[in-house]
Amino acid sequence: MSPLSGLLEYERTNAALGWLVVGGLLVIAVERAASGDPLWSGLAVAVVAVAVVPPLSARNPTEMVAWEVLALAAVPIAGAYLVEFDGQLSFVAVATLALIIAVELDALTDVHMTPDVAVVFVVIVTMAVAALWSLGRFAADALLGTAYLSTNDALMWDLIGATAVGIAAGLVFELYVRRVSPGHALARETWGESR
């Protein structure tokens, strides 16, 4: 049993709450797409896609990622839906998505990592997505005539913001994996072995 598997749970309560979050995200994804906001719609779809991987691959609807983690990915998306705010907070969702991907890679594939490595993974992936997102916006401006990017300073502050969010998220996950997750019987057992 791998140290990260405490974040994949098998309880009904967790599954019910998890599916609730997935349902909510689907509603937001459809609504955002319909009102011409592909960024937030795409992000919601990405979280849903990653969330349904464990239940689909196990053919068992109760095998869900810890619902708190799914909710953390959903909060900035729902927040952007309810109150207008800037894109920077979307990186909270990106960082959480990276954590979920790390957990799923560890549980479902040959890739294995320790909690420390998973935290570094989250920071690196968040920064990489920020870079890709900048390239994507530049390409859209050049090819589609949009005006996402204005000045170099503005772009740099975007990148700094995303990096700060990635590092902060990494620290929070570190605390979460260390303190909250060992409360589960599954995780306690594996942590005893791995430390």
Partner: protein, 214 residues
Amino acid sequence: MSDRENGGQWATYALLTVQAVLLGLVGYGAVTGTFGLAAMGLVGLGATLVPRALARRYDHEVDSRLAVWIGLAVLGHVVGFLGLYEIHSGPLRFYDQVAHVISASLVAGLGYAIIEAVDESSTHINFPEDFREVFTVVVILAVGVTWEIIEFSVGGATMALTGEEALVQYGLRDTIYDLTANTLAATALATWGTGYFDDVAAILSLGVFGTERS
């Protein structure tokens, strides 16, 4: 420790050529009073000696083509500093990006080597080959962001303190081109070049992570 293992004799001759050119540029810089150029050339010459030094220190062979690669990256920047970076038209207009791709591919290789060394550092960690390759590109994107942020903040800080920027960002387009060049370089390295860095990974495992080899 012979140069026969990887790359053969041509790598030795290529390295000597690059080192001779660098030495010539250091001399030129010293004579003409362009001490920035001389210093850059000296640091570059030092960098080309690193693979050999690592091989000696850890008693592990290092692909001899690596030193040539380092030499070309350094030479690219020194020559760029001489004036080629300032050319913004004609066939040499993309010189900056080409030099950038060569050095970025080295950084990507180092990234790959670190990933491989982390993989070997613990039984709880396993990064299969394809994951290592994809993750190398991800890491380089993040390193690129880090580098741009360093340029931005050092430029801003020195501007506030001295009224001159020590590191210059040339603008939005340049930042985007840098990030694109990094990504292309990392993709090329992950696809074709990882083998050059297996020795470096082994040395990192032994020397930095202290991993026991079976």
